[in-house]
């Protein structure tokens, strides 16, 4: 399965819904999406990963890149993920310390810390 991307606005947050596989082949599409959002002034992003079936370190690199971009504008990048097989790679790389990871979009949108 390829990568699917859609975005919607919830209050001052932009929710990016990602589905399918994020790997070295599809990651550039996600990176472009994140860059476009930041370029258009959207600095508070919630990336909903519940529909992601595969994520490797290339995909992690893109998410870290997105985080660095929003941070440059005092923004935030929150993840929504409850899938153990996806969370595992965040733990292995130590990125659970870097990204706020939420169990639902509602929780991520409401989060302010």
């Amino acid at each position: 399965m390829d990568l699917s991307l859609s975005t919607r606005t919830e209050g001052d947050r932009t929710v990016v819904v990602v589905g399918g596989e994020i790997d070295v082949y599809t990651a550039p599409k996600l990176r472009e999406q994140l860059i476009d959002l930041v370029s258009s002034g959207q600095y508070h992003l919630v990336v909903d990963m519940e529909g992601v079936e595969f994520l490797d370190s290339t995909g992690l690199g893109v998410l870290v890149g997105g985080l660095k971009r929003v941070r440059a504008h005092e923004g935030s990048l929150r993840l929504v993920c409850t899938q153990e097989r996806i969370l595992k790679i965040f733990r292995i790389t130590g990125l659970t310390k870097v990204f706020p990871i939420h169990t639902s979009v509602e929780e991520a949108v409401a989060a302010t810390d």
């Binding site: 790997d23 070295v24 990651a27 990176r31 490797d56 370190s57 290339t58 690199g61 292995i92 130590g94």
Partner: protein, 156 residues
């Protein structure tokens, strides 16, 4: 021993092909589902690392993947012709957050982060490296009695 061997031109799209082939071979060898998930990510990391290195340093040379199974278990190797592997970072997150000019610039990930993921993910992984010849070898035990999932119906 049963063997599957694959040569991949260093194109990002072929990394998915490599995952599909390795997963199919592992399932056929009888690897259980949880370890198949682990193998899918591991082969993806090893192949995207190798493909990235070849794209930068040896674009005309294919990456080699083998999946072999015998009584001792399942062995997967990914061989590349890139520079020797660097030290595996202790804290990959820190490295990814730091401004590293090579990171992500050409669409490929950081080869050292990929190795860190492999080390954290797979219990039995070895990296034999020298300039132009790096082989990542990963092994998984197979459940007792595992083998090709073929049912042979006795003929009367």
């Amino acid at each position: 021993m049963a063997l599957v061997e694959l040569l991949l031109s260093p194109l990002p799209s072929h990394v998915r092909t490599a995952r599909l082939v390795a997963v199919a071979a592992a399932r056929r060898a009888g690897l259980d589902d949880e370890r198949v998930d682990e193998l899918r990510l591991a082969v993806g990391e090893a192949c995207s690392r190798a493909v990235g290195l070849h794209a930068r340093h040896a674009p005309d040379v294919p990456v080699r993947l083998t999946v072999a199974d015998d009584v001792s278990g399942l062995t997967l190797t990914v061989s590349d012709a890139g520079p020797a592997a660097g030290p595996v970072p202790d804290d990959p997150a820190e490295g990814m957050l730091a401004d590293e000019p090579h990171h992500g610039l050409d669409g490929h990930g950081d080869p050292d982060v990929a190795l860190a993921v492999l080390n954290g993910l797979v219990d039995d992984v070895t990296v034999k490296t020298e300039p132009g010849a790096t082989v990542v070898t990963m092994r998984w035990p197979l459940p007792a009695g595992a083998g090709p999932r073929t049912t042979i119906v006795a003929q009367r």
